[in-house]
């Protein structure tokens, strides 16, 4: 088998274990949607039907591993909006940004709506979320997710994220950018092949622009989360470093108890990044048994 992502060997810990983990499928993970049902009741109901669930994050009863459920979309609970299939690391994004009830939130690249709806859940359907999605073809999926999950505090806009209007400022901004998606790859069949995203080299410029605009529409004292599902430092630390060079942005530490987080890296292929990038978080499949992920929690000073 051709080794994968060899070029990341210098910073991925326990690289052989990392490569081994790519042979396993990403386990089914569910978020229980408390906008529509109590977490305990949904868990009990699924367990009574013989479906095994395991907590994936000790502090949060809404996040469960469901290895017995290969197709959660076929459950009645899915139709009812009680559950949403969402990767564990993807769920962490809203938890880390942690928008408060009654706040004003922007999700810059919202479709298909998993993180948007999670934020709505954390906000108790209060305040207002602006879910921005450029492509109208993705509005159907976004709207469907939001309505299925009972999200009532959301409006949908259709701006180019990097040109989102500056006339309004938000308490929280989620910048979950289009990326090369390396973290989503699994070699689950003998025929599975990793195909590098053809746009990969072009992505960092777009991501820098989107992050810059996201910071510009953030209120002073507000919080922003930059996230991707790739291992590529050029789409991760380099993009955040670019923001730090041109603004007063601060990177805050990310505290997720009991979760194996690796720090952001400080150099890659001859480029050195701001030392604050160590506060960013990298999530690897052999550590968290989920999609590979990157996030940086950013604050705009008062």
């Amino acid at each position: 088998m051709t080794p994968l992502f060899e070029y990341y060997k210098e910073f991925v810990p326990d690289f052989a274990e990392f490569q081994d983990s790519l042979k396993d499928p990403i386990p089914t993970h569910l978020r229980i949607n408390t906008l529509k049902a109590e977490a305990g009741k949904v868990q009990n109901r699924l367990k009574e039907r013989g479906l095994k669930l395991f907590f994936s994050y000790l502090d949060d009863p809404t996040l469960v591993l469901a290895p017995d459920i290969p197709a959660p979309g076929n459950l009645l609970e899915y139709f009812l909006g009680y559950i949403h299939p969402q990767a564990f690391t993807s769920c962490l994004a809203a938890l880390v940004l942690n928008p408060e009830p009654e706040s004003y939130v922007l999700d810059m690249c919202a479709a298909p709506g998993g993180k948007t709806s999670h934020m709505a859940q954390l906000m108790g359907n209060t305040g207002l979320i602006v879910a921005n999605e450029l492509y109208s073809s993705r509005h159907v999926a976004l709207g469907h997710t939001l309505s299925r999950l009972g999200v009532a505090n959301c409006v949908i806009t259709s701006y180019q994220a990097q040109q989102f209007p500056l006339r309004t400022k938000f308490d929280y901004v989620l910048v979950d950018v289009p990326c090369s998606g390396e973290g989503t790859f699994r070699r689950v069949h003998s025929r599975s092949e990793y195909r590098e995203n053809k746009q990969k080299a072009l992505l960092p410029e777009l991501q820098k622009k989107i992050l810059t605009r996201g910071y510009q529409v953030l209120k002073k004292g507000g919080f922003l989360l930059y996230s991707t599902c790739t291992y590529n430092p050029e789409e991760n630390e380099e993009v955040v470093s670019h923001l730090l060079e041109q603004s007063d942005a601060e990177i805050l530490p990310i505290n997720l108890e009991s979760i194996a987080i690796e720090s952001g890296i400080e150099q890659w292929r001859g480029r050195r990044y701001d030392s604050m990038l160590r506060r960013a978080a990298r999530f690897y499949p052999h550590r968290v048994n989920s999609v590979g992920f990157f996030m940086a929690r950013i604050r705009k000073p008062e």
Binding site: K36, A37, K41, V42, R45, E48, R49, G50, L51, N74, L75, L76, Y78, F79, L80, G81, Y82, E102, Y104, T126, G127, L128, V130, S136, H139, G143, L146, S147, R148, G150, V151, A152, N153, C154, V155, I156, T157, S158, Y159, P165, R167, T168
Partner: protein, 122 residues
């Protein structure tokens, strides 16, 4: 959302969609959407049809249900057991027809319900 102070701010943006769609216009009638009913149907006090799992399975398969219920003709709320609000049905002269989109509520979704079917409470 109506009560949110941020609505004025968001009004300065070009909004494509807002909130949850509440009603469709069907001829001269307003039909509530399944999603609206799922959010607020548990507060309803009338026009409710409560089904057992096997009755729901029959309904979802496309069969109407003949039932002896004292209901006015029109849209009704379909509930599974006492607590699970599913969506909208049409009650006409003693017969119930599902108005829930069949591509969304599929018969296969009900298969696991028959394990422990005596308890359909959520």
């Amino acid at each position: 959302m109506r009560k949110s102070p941020h609505l004025l701010e968001a009004g300065r943006l070009k909004i494509e969609y807002a909130g949850i769609k509440a009603f469709h216009k069907v001829g001269k009638y307003l039909k509530p959407t399944a999603r609206l009913i799922q959010c607020f149907g548990n507060q309803a006090t009338k026009a409710i049809v409560e089904l057992r799992a096997e009755e729901l399975a029959s309904l979802v398969s496309g069969h109407g249900l003949e039932m002896d219920l004292a209901l006015e003709d029109g849209y009704v709320i379909i509930r599974l057991g006492r607590d699970v609000v599913l969506g909208v049905g049409l009650w006409n002269k003693g017969r119930l027809i599902s108005q829930i989109p069949r591509r969304e509520l599929r018969a296969a979704m009900l298969d696991t319900l028959f394990i422990g079917q005596e308890d359909t409470k959520f």
